[in-house]
Point group: none
Chain length 401, copies 2
C-alpha cells in the first residue's frame, strides 16, 4: 500500500493537540571552540526538556542530500519530499507573499540588459530594489492582460521579480527564456509539450511588450523568465493526517509552504513573542500547530555563529510559555541544518525532540546534535516525524489485526 | 530488484540452525518506578547474553505505526508487512484454530439480536461461550452446505464465531453484513466486484437460513458477518529464504500465522517448559525455529506490569536450556511493544538481541529497551531482522562481484 493511503486508512481525529516547532536551519557542525551553535548556546529549558523527552536525529530528505526550504518543509509536514515538486516560480511567488491559485503559472523574472539583441548583463547591474519597484509599477499599469491571460507582477530584491500568468489552459511545460550566459541572444520561452503552446506564446509576447515599455530604461531594458511552474497538487494535511492545522510564521515563504499543505495561516507579528502570542490566542481553535522561527537559518547563512546562538537562546527563554500550553505532543526540531561554518544549508541530520505521555525519557544531558544521536528515536527520515507525532497523540489506529 | 527476488538470488542452504524467539509484545515504556517491564525484571541470563550479543531496536512496520499481530509477525518472518494483507476473517479463523485452504473465504461472525427487522443488540447480550457452542452445533448439524458451498463453523468466545465458506468460485470482495450500529435494519452482504456475486448470495442465504434455525433463541436470533477474506497468497519461507522452518506456539493464531508462511507446526503443550521440550525434541529436524511466548503480550494488554515482568523472568529461567542447544544464530525479540502503561499494542521499537559467531559483543549492561538502543544493530525495520539472521548463519551469498 502506498504510504499516504496507509495514513488515510489509519489516522483518526481526537482532542489531542500537536505542536511542531521548527527552528529553521537549526542543525550545525563543530565550529567555534569545536562546538555547534546548539552546543555553544546556553539553553537550560531545552536541556531540561531533552532529559525527559525522546530524541533523535532526522535526515531531511536522504543521506547526504541538502534540501531547499521547499522539500525540507514538505518532509517535516509528513510528505515524501521527492514525490512532490514545488517549482522554482511557485516558491519565489510564495516567498514574496503572492497569492497563487491552481489556474496560475508562476515564473521567476530578472531584469536584464540587452544590446543589439545580445544579453550583456543577466542582472541589469543589480539595480536597486527601489528602481525595480518603479519599473514593476510602470509595467503593471500598462500591461494588465495579454489576450485572456491576467498579468500579475511583484518585485523581489534588486533585479528579481515574480510574474504570475493567470488564465485557463496554461501549462508549466515551457522552457526557460534565459540564455544562461551573457553574450548570447535573448531566448524566448518554448513549449515543451503540445498543451504548452499558449503559455509559451503569452510569455514571449510578455517579453516583447515589456521590452517596448523598458526601451529607454537601460540597463534594465529587458527581462529573463525562468522556472515556469504550476501550483503543486499536494493533498492536504487534513486529507491525509486528519488534523486541523494552523501555521505561525513571520516570513511569507513559510506561510506559503504551509498553505500548500492546507494549513490556516494565523496573523502574527515580527518577534518570537508575537508568534508565541498568536499560538496562545489560537490554542483552542486547532489541533496541529506549526510554529516557524526563521533567524536561526538567516544567521547560519550569514556565517554569524554568535547570532545564531543568540536566536537559539532567545527561543529557549520563550520555551516555558510554550510548555505552559501543555501540548499533548511537542516536537522541537529544524527543517535542515545551516551550519554557520558552511554559510549554507547542509545535509547534516537535525536534532529532533518529542515530548508526550508515551515517550521514553532519554535522560540526555542537553539538546544538541551529539546528544540527540544517543536518543531513543535513533536516526530517521524527517517525513516519518509526522507519524511519530500522530502516534504519540494516539491518532493512528492499529494496522492490521 | 524487488526485495524478495534479492533474497531468492542470494540465499543458500547449509547446516546452520537459526532460532528466533518471539516474546509477544515484549517492548514497554517507562511505567512503575519509571521502569519498563524489561528494566524491572530480574534477568541474569538475558543480561549476560546481551553482554556478548549484538543488540538493537526493531521497528515493527514503520515509525509510529502500531501493528496488529498479523503484520507484526509477517515482519519478523522477513516479509514486507505492508505488502501482504491478512484479512480479519482469516486471522480470526487462525485464532480459533481452523484449517484454512486457498479455496475458502473466512468470515467473522457475531450472534446478534433482531427485533422486527431491526438489529437491537450487535452482540446478543454477550451470550456465554457455552451457549454459543450449543448454537453453533445446532446450526452446523442442520446447515452443512448451501448449493455446492460447504459451511464450516467454529465458536469463539461469548458472541463470536468464525464461518468458513469452502467451494469454487468464491471471492472476498463482499461488503460486511453488519449495520455497524444498533437500531438499524439487518444488512445483507453485497458483492463489491462482478466475481463476488456467488459469495454474497451464499452468505445472504446463510444469514436467512440461520435466522430460521435461531428464531426461538432470542437474544441470539440472528448473525452479523464481517471481514470476508481469502487465504493470502504469501510465498513460503522455504521459497524465499531457503530454510526449513518449524513453529512452536501455544496459541492457535500464531500457529496459523506460521503456517501462512509455510512453517511446520510442532506439537507442544501449554507451558514454556513444554515449548522448550518441543524445541529439544525437534532440534535435529529443522534449520529454522520460531518459538513464541504469548503471555508477555496478554499481561501487557491487561495493564498487569507485575505479571508481564514475571513472564520475562520465567523466560530468563528457561534460557540456559535453550542456549544448551547451541543454535548457530539465536535471536530474542518481540513482534511489537505492548506497554502495560498503555494496555495495548504500540508503535515503540522492540529490543532485539542476536548471538552468533560473527556478531559484535556490544557489552551492554542488560537486555532492555534503553540498553538495546546503544547496540551495534542500531534501529532498523523488523523485516530486516531475517536478513541479519540469515547473514549470521552464512546463508546469504555475496551480492555482486
Amino acid at each position: 500500500m502506498e504510504r499516504e493511503e496507509l495514513f488515510k486508512m489509519l489516522t483518526v481525529r481526537n482532542e489531542k493537540k500537536i505542536l511542531l516547532v521548527v527552528l529553521d536551519g537549526l542543525g550545525g557542525i563543530p565550529f567555534k571552540d569545536g562546538k555547534t551553535e546548539l552546543e555553544a548556546a546556553n539553553t537550560p529549558n531545552l536541556d531540561a526538556l531533552a532529559k525527559e523527552s525522546s530524541c533523535g536525529l532526522s535526515i531531511p530528505v536522504r543521506e547526504g542530500i541538502t534540501p531547499g526550504s521547499g522539500p525540507a518543509h514538505l518532509a517535516i509536514f509528513g510528505y515524501d519530499p521527492i514525490k512532490y515538486e514545488i517549482g522554482r516560480g511557485i516558491l519565489e511567488a510564495l516567498g514574496v507573499g503572492m497569492d497563487v491559485t491552481k489556474r496560475d503559472v508562476a515564473v521567476r523574472g530578472n531584469f536584464a540588459t540587452i544590446e543589439n539583441g545580445i544579453i550583456t548583463d543577466r542582472r541589469a547591474g543589480r539595480i536597486p530594489t527601489e528602481v525595480n519597484r518603479q519599473l514593476i509599477k510602470e509595467i503593471s499599469d500598462r500591461l494588465k492582460k495579454i489576450d485572456d491571460v491576467e498579468i500579475i507582477l511583484k518585485s523581489g530584491r534588486e533585479h528579481r521579480f515574480v510574474l504570475i500568468l493567470r488564465g485557463d489552459g496554461l501549462s508549466d511545460e515551457v522552457s526557460d527564456g534565459d540564455p544562461e550566459k551573457e553574450g548570447l541572444p535573448q531566448k524566448l520561452p518554448q513549449p515543451l509539450a503540445p498543451q504548452a503552446g499558449k503559455t509559451a506564446e503569452i510569455a514571449s509576447r510578455f517579453i516583447k511588450e515589456v521590452e517596448k515599455i523598458l526601451k529607454d530604461k537601460h540597463p534594465a531594458n529587458t527581462v529573463l523568465l525562468r522556472g515556469f511552474s504550476k501550483y503543486p497538487d499536494i493533498p492536504s494535511m487534513e486529507e491525509i493526517f486528519k488534523v486541523k492545522p494552523a501555521a505561525i510564521a513571520t516570513y511569507p515563504m513559510y506561510r506559503g509552504l504551509a498553505k500548500l499543505v492546507g494549513m490556516d495561516i494565523l496573523d502574527t507579528g515580527e518577534s518570537l513573542q508575537d508568534e508565541v502570542n498568536s499560538l496562545k490566542e489560537n490554542w483552542g481553535k486547532y489541533d496541529f500547530f506549526y510554529l516557524h522561527v526563521k533567524k536561526t537559518d538567516s544567521y547560519g547563512e550569514d556565517g554569524n555563529f554568535e547570532n545564531k546562538v543568540k536566536v537559539i537562546e532567545e527561543f529557549d527563554a520563550h520555551l516555558p510559555q510554550i510548555l505552559a500550553l501543555k501540548p499533548d505532543v511537542l516536537v522541537i526540531t529544524g527543517d535542515h541544518s545551516t551550519p554557520s561554518k558552511m554559510k549554507s544549508h547542509s545535509w547534516h541530520p537535525v536534532p529532533f525532540l518529542l515530548k508526550s505521555s508515551y515517550c521514553f525519557n532519554d535522560d540526555l544531558k542537553a539538546f544538541t546534535e551529539r546528544e540527540c544521536r544517543k536518543g531513543s528515536l535513533g536516526v530517521f527520515y524527517a517525513q516519518e516525524g509526522m507519524a511519530l507525532m500522530l502516534a504519540n497523540a494516539l491518532r493512528l489506529k492499529k494496522f492490521g489485526a
